[in-house]
Symmetry: C2
Subunit: 354 residues, 2 copies
């Protein structure tokens, strides 16, 4: 089969290449009649534009890159869903890159993206990210970037986050009000804002309710599940163990449960647990798990919308687009009193106003 490109269409129709090009792009300076002829033939011959050629020439790309640490837990899965839905609406393509929480990989990735073959970048930094030169370089090349969930304090650009401090505060407060005397916090990084904010909210709640803070109750976990479990076992094995745990990332929930199982401690009778988690199904399976659900889908949608807004309007100030989307404390432990409803279908949740 003859390869059908613009040139071929032009020959068939006795038109010039540029006319065909313009007709296909629905340019205002082409007659309706010609447009119709072109579009019809294109359809008949199954013409598909060459993406690389058009991007090369126009110096525009309609791809966006999503750079995230992992996609294993449901937060990022839902976020991708949100991003992809907005991208599709805007005719953009979505590239996925995983850093596996490695700064080195993150740097290499962003380096690649510098050539400008993606129009914009949506990013959640790795837990190792403290230097930010690679991010600054990308911005210096004029490629817009929006952070979601895990921003970088040092970089000035739009940040779509959730109310980490507040939700952590509320969760801690909730535990205190329900009589917990010794609340441990499991975090995963000393530098990520999601960690430091959640830590700060927790600390403030302790202060406000005149609860003592013990450094040993603030456990910094790692990337390794086995290690984390061990850390939690150490935390819980003493006589005067914590009576509550606030797990600041989804995957730590698993480790907490495993550790409790090993120590034959019951949740929530021996230890109450509140967990940042988006595992909708998991929640339903275990009615006693109280969680903080993050608006992952909405965050994805919002971040993507912002990128497209800035791509359409070069003078749009990305920095001004930062949004905090609140998360939901879903109390499901029957020994707690309140019960808030689950968001049953996040796909239908409204888009945060930007």
């Amino acid at each position: 089969m003859e390869k059908v490109n613009i040139k071929y269409l032009a020959e068939e129709l006795n038109l010039s290449i540029s006319t065909v090009s313009r007709a296909l792009r629905d340019s205002y300076e082409i007659s309706t009649e010609t447009k119709k002829r072109v579009v019809e033939l294109a359809k008949k011959l199954d013409y598909v534009p060459n993406y690389h050629a058009s991007s090369l020439r126009s110096k525009k790309s309609n791809m966006i890159a999503v750079v995230i640490p992992e996609v294993a837990d449901s937060f990022f899965a839902q976020a991708i869903n949100g991003i992809e839905s907005v991208a599709q609406e805007n005719g953009y393509h979505v590239l996925i890159y995983l850093t596996h929480e490695s700064l080195l990989q993150e740097q290499a990735l962003l380096k690649d993206l510098q050539s400008g073959w993606v129009a914009g970048v949506l990013m959640s930094v790795s837990s190792e990210t403290e230097q930010v030169a690679h991010i600054e370089e990308l911005l210096a090349k004029g490629i817009p970037l929006v952070f979601f969930d895990r921003p970088c304090d040092k970089i000035e650009t739009a940040k779509i986050t959730t109310d980490d401090w507040e939700s952590s505060y509320k969760a801690t407060q909730h535990l205190i009000e329900r009589g917990c005397k010794k609340i441990a916090l499991l975090s995963v990084s000393d530098s990520l804002s999601i960690s430091t904010e959640r830590m700060a909210g927790y600390r403030q709640a302790l202060v406000d309710y005149a609860q003592p803070f013990e450094p040993s109750n603030n456990v910094l976990c790692t990337n390794c599940e086995e290690q984390n479990m061990q850390l939690i076992i150490n935390l819980l094995k003493d006589e005067d163990r914590p009576d509550a745990i606030l797990a600041t990332v989804e995957k730590l929930t698993t480790s907490v449960y495993l550790a409790c199982k090993k120590l034959q401690l019951s949740i929530p009778n021996d230890v109450k647990v509140i967990s940042f988690s988006n595992l909708q199904s998991a929640l339903l399976l275990n009615p006693s798990l109280t969680t903080i659900t993050q608006p992952a889908f909405e965050m994805g949608r919002t971040a993507a919308s912002l990128i497209f807004k800035s791509l359409k309007n070069k003078h749009f100030n990305l920095k001004a687009g930062s949004v905090v989307i609140p998360s939901t404390l879903e109390i499901r432990d029957s020994t707690f009193t309140e019960v808030t409803p689950v968001i049953s279908n996040p796909l239908n949740a409204p888009l945060a106003h930007v």
Copy 2:
């Protein structure tokens, strides 16, 4: 900043454009000395090749498209993880497209991909996909395609699947051996092989164990959670309700639990449930949930490996690459006797031999 491209490098080094190009691609016909000079300057000036230009010229792409129905559940999240890891090893980029189980969207997507700007496609068909013209067209354009999880019977190409029939058979067998007399099956499609295979395995087990099959126990669910819950409530509300349920896709698990809650039925005391699910964390949270865990990560890795193999070796016969990777029946219901271990870290799981 002067934009640094091959031409600029060539001028700086007093070399021709083609020499620089060859040096960067490590061509054998360039002296080591020249190569070194070029590479050093490129590094110093932070040269990043223009992806679109090189793809246009060489008519090669190092992007692959992943076309899947959703990314909301953990099966596809883990699969993406696997695909991305292989892609990174091979220097490829990964594009994600979601069809939201819609044939129309799937057709439009594949049409787009026909232009050849992706080197290959990994795909799980939507539940609506019965016509396959769009897939055939893509293959006709010479773009290799590998199915994973949800293949299309009518298309001859590599298929990475799991042992749907066997796992379903085993699960049913297990329930029968544990004394269940009336086992219901929840499926999600009449045409998807994952559904028909699982249904067939279930039916065969009933036959082999001389259990009656009642059509009313074979419930075809929809895309809507609310509806599904209603269907399950109808199934369970009668006096002589099923004493076990086999849920053939992850998201149905949630609906089953919600339905049981509404009817105040206890799992597993009133109804035993076995669910196809990859929610690792969920499993740990509910020790009584027996599941069939699919090798999502390995399937992703295997599918991606195959695509790259066929891209590197044009004469490699994709059809011959089909693999069935077995899933794991994880029995966790305490009223069951056996207990098999959880795969704690699928990321370290070995790659299936291809």
